[in-house]
């Protein structure tokens, strides 16, 4: 080969020879690259317990949303009460698959009547739809309470973790104080007071239809339960903000909120999501506990806790009315817990080994 002058601009023709077959094969991807999310989803789908729990939760959620739309009875309709007629007591306390007197007559005349799968309660309301509706309320309260906790914890925790110094010190002292309070007792106290004081103030507003008791539940959650989420977020941010990519972002002139949103939160998102998922069953737990004490949703709205509480009075004659909501709560809480554990195993990179 001709000796080349190092300063020459002459093109080296060898660089322009078409690639051989072997060269091309070397560039072919043997396996599609996987994202973090896809990896986690694959791990999750291999976890039989978690997948089964997921199916149970999806089924329960869908039926609690859609069944009331098609059901011929509503949760508050007292079947024995019809306008212009005397109250028909034959509809009260029906056993499963029994019918009231007028329904029986219509059936004898050849009409088909939708059965009362779990009978009716002491006020003549179809019990099955009350359980379904109660499940809907319990799930909704659990879900929205967790979202509220997530929002507040996220904001407070990121601010404390990112800014540090005095801001952090003050926020963490408040967190410590709230953390050391006996939470259930404070929840009971606040819930029992808020429902009295909120009642009048909500009248005429859009919130009235939700009911003062659920609103006060949400307020209590917002006041007390954000602290562990805030601690978690702060801890994550404190460890992440020492990373080099944060330093480089700051060096190129990125401002605080941008770094929090673009660098810190995405990197701590999996831990946060898992913790939120595990917050839902604990919120359902708390709601049903308060309902059982008579501090839950406003009557005639049912929740699983208040249904179980009401069923205690008739435990000798109508024990199935206790078993149905009791099994529903346990099933929901258990599957949510198992799914949360599965999510943690699948998505927490620190637990991978």
């Amino acid at each position: 080969m001709m000796k080349k002058n190092p300063l020459s601009l002459q093109v080296d023709l060898d660089d322009f020879i078409p690639a051989t077959k072997e060269d091309k094969e070397y560039m072919v991807q043997m396996r599609a690259s996987s994202t973090f999310f896809r990896d986690g989803a694959r791990r999750l789908s291999r976890n039989k317990v978690a997948m089964f729990s997921l199916i149970v939760i999806v089924l329960i959620t869908l039926s609690s949303i859609f069944l009331p739309m098609f059901w011929p009875y509503s949760y508050e309709q007292q079947l024995g009460v019809q306008s212009g007629k005397r109250v028909d007591p034959s509809y009260n306390n029906l056993a499963p698959f029994e019918y009231g007197s007028t329904e029986q007559e219509r059936m004898d005349a050849g009409e088909s009547i939708f059965p009362h799968i779990f009978g009716t309660d002491s006020a003549g309301r179809d019990y099955f739809i009350r359980v379904i509706y109660g499940t809907r309320i319990s799930l909704a309260v659990g879900f929205f309470a967790s979202i509220i906790v997530l929002m507040i914890g996220l904001v407070v925790g990121s601010v404390a973790g990112y800014f540090g110094g005095k801001v952090d010190l003050i926020i963490m002292r408040i967190v410590d104080i709230i953390y050391s309070l006996p939470d259930t007792l404070m929840v009971i106290l606040l819930a029992s007071i808020l429902r009295v004081t909120l009642g009048d103030r909500l009248e005429g507003t859009a919130l009235e239809s939700i009911g003062s008791n659920i609103i006060s539940l949400f307020i209590v959650f917002a006041l007390l339960y954000w602290v562990s989420m805030a601690r978690l977020v702060r801890g994550q941010i404190l460890s992440l903000r020492e990373e080099e990519y944060v330093l480089s972002a700051r060096a190129t002139g990125a401002k605080g909120p941008w770094i929090i949103r673009k660098h810190l939160l995405p990197n701590s998102i999996s831990v946060i999501i898992i913790s939120t998922a595990l917050q839902i069953p604990s919120a359902i737990f708390t709601e049903s506990y308060l309902s059982f004490l008579g501090l839950g949703v406003n009557a005639p709205m049912p929740s699983l806790g208040s249904l179980a509480s009401d069923a205690l009075n008739g435990i000798n004659s109508y024990s199935y009315r206790l078993v149905v909501p009791a099994v529903s709560i346990s099933l929901i809480v258990l599957s949510l817990n198992l799914l949360g554990d599965g999510l943690r195993d699948a998505f927490d990179p620190k637990l991978n080994n």
Partner: protein, 309 residues
């Protein structure tokens, strides 16, 4: 005990005191947000009673002054005021009366939970990955996911109503069996899981191998070396366990009609007996804070590896 330990204990005591003070403050101001205030509520009370209450608690005075009066009453004579529903009874007498039953209930439940939790946890860890271990883990997972009131109601249904082998009413000695079991199942399951994981951790340590190499017998290793160290995380659960038993007793005593502080608290909430709600919240919170404090101090004293900050 060195000065560092003493300083730590002092710091924790001060923190606990501040917590109790905050609980009292929250309770007081929350209760005074109710229209009519806690001592009058929404119920019509005779003018003579109103006058007497106003004179005693200074209900016409500014809120801050009332607060200081209330604080002074609590710290000097445990005075939480009169009950609104139970005529002629002072709140503190009702609380003390209920506490007698509830403390007995709680202590037995805690004892059962500790004994069976430690035993089952050790068995599970020593028989790791066998059928016994798996069975214990499945059962404890189910117990941990079941709210106490569900557990209590179902136990009542099965053993008192269907099988009728124990009385449903908890005011007698035999009637306390079911409430005690209900209260102890959750902490027992939790302690079992805690003991299992910490035993597994300890059993893999070098000093266990050393002990085995020295020729120490198996039971001596388990009792003297493994369990002694594995028990430390269980001590941290001491405070939360009491908090669970206290809050669990609210529903459990309602289900089984146990005449304890939990039932009177639950009744006072539905009956809107505000002075009783205030008094019970404060007394139970103080109890929980004290137990947390005790658990924390014990934890630090038992394990010399833990440093004091």
């Amino acid at each position: 005990m060195n000065s560092k330990t003493l300083f730590y204990i002092l710091k924790r005591v001060v923190l606990a005191f501040v917590t109790v003070l905050i609980v009292i403050t929250i309770t007081f101001f929350a209760m005074h947000a109710i229209p009519g205030g806690p001592f009058l509520g929404e119920k019509a009370v005779s003018p003579a009673v109103i006058e007497a209450l106003e004179a005693k608690y200074g209900l016409d005075k500014p809120l801050l002054e009332q607060y200081l009066t209330y604080l002074r009453g609590i710290f000097l004579d445990f005075d939480f005021g009169p009950s609104l529903k139970q005529r002629g009874m002072m709140v503190i007498d009702i609380i003390m009366d209920g506490l007698k039953t509830s403390i007995r209930l709680g202590v037995i439940a805690a004892g059962i939970a500790l004994f069976f939790g430690l035993t089952l946890g050790s068995i599970a860890s020593l028989r790791r990955n066998t059928t016994i271990d798996r069975a214990i883990m499945v059962v404890t997972t189910a117990f941990v996911s079941m709210p106490s009131f569900i557990m209590g109601s179902l136990l009542l249904l099965i053993f008192a109503v269907q099988l009728a082998i124990v009385p449903a009413n908890g005011s007698t000695g035999a009637g306390l069996i079911l409430p005690v079991i209900t209260l102890s199942l959750y902490p027992m399951a939790y302690i079992t899981r805690l003991t299992r994981s910490s035993m597994l951790d300890v059993l893999g340590q070098d000093y266990i191998r050393t002990a085995r190499a020295k020729g120490v017998s198996r039971s001596e290793i388990i009792r003297g070396h493994a369990l002694k160290n594995a028990i430390i995380p269980v001590i941290t659960y001491f405070g939360p366990m009491l908090a669970y038993i206290v809050t669990g007793s609210l529903v459990v005593e309602r289900i089984f009609a146990v005449p304890g502080i939990g039932r009177s608290f639950a009744n006072s909430i539905t009956g809107r007996d505000y002075p009783l709600v205030m008094g019970t919240t404060i007394v139970l919170s103080t109890l929980i804070v004290l137990m947390n404090l005790l658990g924390d101090i014990m934890y630090k004293l038992v394990d010399p590896r833990i440093s004091f900050e």
